[in-house]
Point group: C2
Chain length 292, copies 2
Amino acid sequence: MNFFKQTTLIGIGLIGSSIARALKKNKLSKRIHIYSKTKKTINRAKKLNLGDFYTNNLELSVKNSDLIIICTPLSTYESIMLKIYKHIMADAILSDVGSAKLSVVRIFDKFKKTKFHILPAHPIAGTEKSGPDSGFAELFKKRWCVITPMGKNNSKSLNKLKKLWVQFGSKVEIMNAKNHDKILALTSHVPHLISYSIVSSTLKVNALEKSQIIKFSAGGLRDFTRIAASDSTMWKDIFLSNKKNLLQITEKFEESLKLIKKYIRNNDSQKLKRIFLNTKKIRKLIEKEKQE
Amino acid sequence: MNFFKQTTLIGIGLIGSSIARALKKNKLSKRIHIYSKTKKTINRAKKLNLGDFYTNNLELSVKNSDLIIICTPLSTYESIMLKIYKHIMADAILSDVGSAKLSVVRIFDKFKKTKFHILPAHPIAGTEKSGPDSGFAELFKKRWCVITPMGKNNSKSLNKLKKLWVQFGSKVEIMNAKNHDKILALTSHVPHLISYSIVSSTLKVNALEKSQIIKFSAGGLRDFTRIAASDSTMWKDIFLSNKKNLLQITEKFEESLKLIKKYIRNNDSQKLKRIFLNTKKIRKLIEKEKQE
């Protein structure tokens, strides 16, 4: 099919390497250029045969590419953009995979007078693993990819990027960045913040208790440790980028926790049961939507 | 093998029906008696062919059984015990599967002068599903079963019960009830409390937002909704039974959350990263223990 002549992936971690694999598997790009800042990662990517050209030179990596996807932590975007924007072809598509979008749009906005087309995107898919070895071509299958187009729209580019994600097996949703960040704070960022907090609080116990906690983690904690094992740089960037929504929604969570604690303190069996019956309904809706 | 001549399962939900299936599959009991208070559940259990005798009469259900396992919510134990204790054979084993143990020991203590052997137990296994249809024989495989023996020990009975759980595929740990409740509060009860709180807090949004939350739940929230879909009666009983540990450990979680929020507010990138690198270590230990 070869939608694209040459794709540059800036960053080749879990998401970048999954895109590389999905591009190859579905023959969606004639060539794949891979940028990483570290030699070690470049060598792993080479060994895994993820691309056709490997470099730690940003300017060089984007030359002649008609698709460029930034797959690095949010805190790197600005310096990356400053280095590459002059070297990107006219009419190329520049996209990304960042989990917060308002901060991304703000950075990209500074480059809106360029002749390439900027289309921020966020595939809602991932695992707790990181690095080029952890990716796989099916990561995006049946998952949503949100695209948050900016001021000036180019429908041809937008359609092309949409089609790419559909080829990866994703469902595509167009949303504005502000709404994206609010919803994702609820569905992803706050759950991660809470997971990090609960796992972090277990670190304070003594060694004997720690070994028992690990032994008996299957009762619930295990699922939190999986979430709290996600990439540390990526997540601190997401938290700092979506700070306002994050803190607001965490406050709502704290109110719920306070209420449930009160009912427990007061032995209020009926009120607890009512809450837990309601939370079950949400699960049913999620199963119905096949997001389980 | 037929370790037991006749087993009575009081309650035939997820755990009870999984025990029934595991007993049958491994031929560990000649006969299985099933008690449920509702006709509907008895009929389902019959249809699923989980036992040999079905009744909603507690006294009758335990007659001539050499193993009795209570598999109902914690709040039902006392009234069940008052009805059955006179009808249990001498030297029979009475056990349970409750997730909090100190409150269970306190109830059982009132019956310690009887001639049967009381051995409280807790298989750390489960899913968010409930009812006789949701059980399966392999539920306990590779999972821990904690037994918390009471004052007077009968080593023959203890060994027999241990062997039964080993036959189910479990690893067995002997612990005192107090320690069990503290560890389980950390690994299971507080994670459930937090999951219920976070899912409950998402219920307050409007309908449009709710549909988007469900759509994009794969980013983390989904895992919490699974936990928060667990049986409502069972869990309010666990929370009320292990209240002290629950509230104490929740407080530690709240301290961690407060600290992380402070670092986010202050843009303290380095401190956040350090916390998230530490939480990742716990995950690695859990994977090493094969509790993933």
